[in-house]
Amino acid sequence: MAIVFEKPKALTDAVLHYCPGCTHGIIHRLVAEAIDELGIEGRTIGVAPVGCAVMAYNYFACDMVEAAHGRAPAVATGLRRALPDSVVFTYQGDGDLAAIGTAETVHAATRGENITVIFVNNCIYGMTGGQMAPTTLPGQITQTTPYGRDTATAGFPIRMCEMLSTLDGVALAQRVTVDSVPHVKEAKKAIQKAFQNQLDHKGFSIVEVLSTCPTNWGLTPIEAMQWLRDNMIPYYPLGVYKDKDAQKEEK
């Protein structure tokens, strides 16, 4: 019988620990497919975050380093500088990348550090049980914003792609999501480009993936997808915020 579908080689056989309906699984797969298709697993090193994806080092078949909370871009910088022929990616959540690790993110970006950053934004701290994230929407209820995020006291969400797009070191800043087949296809293209940029020494590439957290949002997986469409996409519009290639073409 012909094999028509199989697990990417860049994923191990370990069973994912993610909650039912969580989109981390899809995003892991997209990253692994990109690694497979570019044939770079042997020289790729991934950096896992602290957050739900903390155990990503068990799932990706390439060499993996587990970083402290928020420090993945710094660890990736050390790896990338020590191994000039390698491919280095980080896989980070919103708390890791946009709260505790904001400085590391912004400075790796402005240095044009030649790494690929996969940023999973689900508007909440998942692993610790659903607290407010830097990307939690105004009015959104979480464990630490029980009356809804009050922007008067808790401030506003951060739009990372928009913010990073102003930096000269950034080669690609693109926001995608995985709520539908066309969107998944688009996300895959973006992730592949983010790796290709690294192979072409173009600099810092970030792909922000809007993701769901049915468990902590208190929704079914299907409701969660709808919540993402209704609430997240309007606040975090999908699209390419910075692409050095496109800018060159315009000139």
């Binding site: 970083a67 020590a82 400085a103």
Partner: protein, 348 residues
């Protein structure tokens, strides 16, 4: 050469090609020297956005299997403590320089030894140790740098150079070894890309199963035992016939030695013990000396931190007194001599 520059040059000659730093007085010359030299020899000098980022860059580079280092002064080392703990928990080798200044808080910028506890007890959360070297001359800063990289590689643990503002800033003549070869350490654990030739490596400090984590820590401590057995460095002077012994490390040891010399000229039988590694601590040497002497004086540029280790080693056999200046004030030989005479006073 200036102590800070000599140390940087020694690190380069020890094969370190990856330096990640952040400016802070009084260690800045280390960074400046690296910034000048690294680009010329194909190495990496990177000024990080913070000490936190710098130590995590070291973690990344060390994961790749290369010799990597960072350098800072007291407040910066506090920021690095997170990364140091992760490096220890991931069994990675690296070198961390602390050119100590007065604290706590922003403190001052004059020399101090008030980070002894931090270096030997608490350079981060969790059960772990660093190998901590305490040079007392610029030459020793050079020699110990080679040793620090070697031992870090050998035992897969962070090594720390615990210097102070005085050593960092002063100039003394130095010579560099001509025939240094780094020890051959197994680095098959490095995450440098498996090239499809081996299973994937993971550098990690997370173990959610309590018994698994316990076993890892126990194994690590077995390695620490080896370090304690094999790697203690200490200098004992005139301890055989000594009635009293002065214990001091780093720059303070030089001042203590001047006082001991003066005391001996006055006919007092004073010896001097200078720990060169403060972890592992020369417990046995001090315990042995305690058998034959009447008391110890510990001298530090702090309110008394190493004195705890001296007391543990002496184990109540003879009295241990302490003299220290802190906040960046350097004790004078005359002050130390006064304390020696006070201690020996009862014998007159």
């Amino acid at each position: 050469m200036k102590g800070n520059e000599a140390l940087a040059e020694a690190a380069i000659r020890a094969g370190c090609r990856h330096f990640f730093g952040y400016p802070i007085t009084p260690q800045t010359e280390v960074s400046a020297y690296m910034a000048k030299r690294m680009p010329k020899i194909g190495g990496t000098y990177l000024q990080a956005e913070s000490e936190i980022a710098a130590i995590n860059m070291v973690l990344g580079a060390a994961s790749a299997g290369v010799r990597a280092m960072t350098s800072s002064s007291s407040p910066g080392i506090s920021l690095k403590s997170e990364g140091i703990s992760y490096i220890a928990g991931s069994d990675l080798p690296c070198l961390i320089i602390n050119v100590m200044r007065g604290g706590p808080g922003l403190g001052g910028i004059q020399p101090s030894q008030a980070d002894y506890w931090q270096a030997t007890r608490a350079s981060g959360h969790g059960d772990f140790q660093n190998i901590v070297f305490a040079p007392s001359t610029v030459q020793e800063m050079v020699d110990l740098t080679f040793q620090a990289f070697d031992l870090a590689d050998k035992y897969r643990m962070p090594a720390m150079m615990l210097a102070d503002g005085m050593l960092g800033q002063m100039m003394e003549p130095v010579s560099f070894p001509e025939d240094y070869t780094p020890i051959q350490a197994d680095k098959s654990w490095a995450t440098n890309g498996h090239q499809n030739k081996r299973p994937h490596n993971i550098v990690n400090s997370l173990y959610l199963q309590a018994d698994e984590l316990e076993q890892l820590v126990v194994d690590r401590f077995a390695r620490y035992e080896q370090v304690k057995q094999n790697e203690v460095l200490v200098e004992c002077e005139n301890t055989e016939d000594a009635d009293y012994i002065v214990v001091a490390y780093g720059a303070t040891a030089r001042i203590a030695k001047a006082a001991v010399k003066a005391a001996r000229e006055k006919g007092l039988k004073i010896g001097c013990i200078r720990p060169i590694t403060v972890w592992p601590f020369p417990t046995e040497e001090i315990a042995a000396a305690a058998e034959g002497c009447k008391g110890f004086l510990c001298v530090e540029m702090s309110m008394g931190q190493m004195v705890d280790d001296v007391r543990l080693a002496v184990n109540g056999k003879v009295p241990v007194s302490f003299f220290g200046r802190t906040g960046g004030v350097i004790p004078t030989p005359a002050e130390v001599l006064g304390e020696i005479e006070k201690m020996a006073g009862g014998d007159r």
